[in-house]
Amino acid sequence: MAKPVLEVLGLTKRFGGLVATDAVTFDVVPGEIHALIGPNGAGKTTLVHQLSGAVAADAGSIRFNGADITVMPTHDRVRAGLARSYQITSIFRRLTVVDNIVLAVQARNGTSLSFWRPIKSESALYDEARAIAKDVGLAGREEIVSGFLAHGEQRQLEVGLALATKPLCVMLDEPMAGMGPEESERMIPLISGLRATRSVLLIEHDMDAVFRLADRISVLVSGRIISTGTPAAIRASDEVRRAYLGDETVHG
């Protein structure tokens, strides 16, 4: 297998007596969609928070693209190519769709310590932002103030903001949370298409989507990764079934 782009070694996080992340070790290789599944409260979001730099780990290390990023600030991780989206939508609600995405494009295009030229005249930024809006299925909605978008569209923008940073590896925390079946159906090819240029750490409760998208699956229970493997192996694993999937058969 190719050299991992993201390597997590013995990562641990405690909240008082609760061990939210318990010596987690796993990796993401270039061009793969690695799904992280687990029951509510398993510690998936907490793990992403540590990988993105929002929460400091108590122990362990994170390597990204050959460098140790364990204590690197969030914005530097993003610049290095590790971006994330949020489970709880975190967009700029008072800005239009295109203005939201322009910010992410602006962040990686030259300096923003520019005090004179009106940003509205930087058509390259806007063209690129419109293209990204289109990619995430928001064509025709560019000029809508994002707070007024439908829930599903806000989720698309949420993912769009992460992708607009052009990451090497993107962590998507339940991108389809609260989406209707139709909206999810639109999201699946979008995520699947990312494989060509990036790697993805996908956290998702929709098992149907997970088994369709993932190249590998890791199962997180009570902060511990109890198993990592191909979708077929995970589906067949008794341990996973007992700990997480319950005894019901999983349909793929």
Binding site: V78, R94, L103, I119, L161, A164
Partner: protein, 316 residues
């Protein structure tokens, strides 16, 4: 439409001293200069408070620092505005850099309290500057010297210089707010966590904004020292910070003219009411309360709303 309005306002501001002179009411020119100077200070605060969402309760520190630069330089015989005014800006900007580097690591109420604490510290420092008058402050023998035949001792000339500074500051502010930098600063106000997560070192942008605002306020301080020909520690005291905050909130947070409108209304009300009662601050406070209750986006917000609902011709 906006352009016309700007030009009309500018024409009124230019004509004002001529009218006052004709009516032999030069006192009002001096008073108007004061409004212009406070408008500069409030506009600088609007950059951080309105556009940046940083509730700084210590802006008087930069105002006072600018004023003291002019005052202290004057004591040592340096009178050129070309030296002391830029000096005031640089010193205030450096001060903002130090204060901002510490305060911007905190959030919310802590930020308000720590900016206040820093400003109060500055207040007590100048209070202890016995060499420069301590609590008595410094009486300036004269105003700064510009040369080129411009004599600031003339109140009308001084007014025009203040007007020029205000117009320049408003223009720069407008450019900055509409440029990439302003886009970043306003987005940080909306959602700092996300700005971090799309790759912006938010702390640094906020600090730059703080430093710019500090520098501009230092220039306002240099002007106020000239206007009153007097500097004393009260310029750095917290009521001045509070007054500047009230001006911005009253005038309109994150509106270009917010600081100008706020400075005008507050100082005008104060002037109007204070001859009649020693409780003028109380009445001014009541008026402000009413305005803020009925205009949550300040007076500028009210005007925008009013203009927006009026049928009007297309811009351009």
């Amino acid at each position: 439409m906006n352009r016309t309005l700007n030009l009309v306002l500018l024409a009124i501001a230019i004509a004002f001293p001529l009218v006052a002179q004709a009516l032999d009411e030069l006192f009002y020119v001096s008073f108007a200069s004061r409004i212009l100077i406070y408008a500069v200070a409030a506009t600088s605060l609007n950059l951080i408070l309105g556009y940046g969402g940083m509730v700084s309760f210590g802006h008087a520190a930069f105002f006072g620092a600018g004023a003291y630069c002019v005052g202290i330089a004057m004591v040592h015989g340096v009178t050129s505005a070309w030296i002391t005014w830029p000096l005031a800006m640089v010193v205030s900007a450096l001060l903002a850099w130090v204060i901002g580097a510490v305060c911007l690591r905190t959030r919310g109420v802590y930020f308000i309290m720590i900016t206040l604490a820093f400003a109060q510290m500055m207040y007590y420092i100048v209070l202890g500057l016995k060499a420069y008058g301590g609590e008595e402050g410094i009486n300036l023998l004269n105003r700064s010297v510009i040369g080129f035949g411009v004599d600031l001792k003339n109140d009308v000339t001084f007014y025009y210089v203040c007007l020029g500074v205000l117009v320049a500051v408003l223009y720069l502010c407008q450019r900055l707010v509409r440029a990439r930098f302003g886009n970043v600063v306003q987005a940080i106000r909306e959602n700092e966590t996300r700005m971090d997560a799309i790759g912006f070192p938010t702390f640094q942008y906020k600090l730059v904004c703080f430093v710019i605002a500090g520098g501009v306020c230092g220039l306002a301080g240099a002007l106020i020292a000239n206007q009153t020909k007097f500097v004393n520690p009260n310029l750095l005291h917290w009521p001045v910070s509070g007054e500047l905050m009230i001006m911005v909130i009253l005038g309109g947070l994150a509106y270009l003219y917010g600081g100008v409108i706020g400075a005008f209304v507050l100082l005008f009300l104060d002037e109007l009411i204070s001859p009649y009662t020693i409780f003028s601050k109380l009445y001014v406070g009541l008026v402000l309360l009413v305005i803020v209750l009925f205009a949550p986006h300040g007076i500028a917000g009210l005007i925008e709303k009013w203009r927006g609902t009026l049928p009007r011709k297309k811009d351009g």
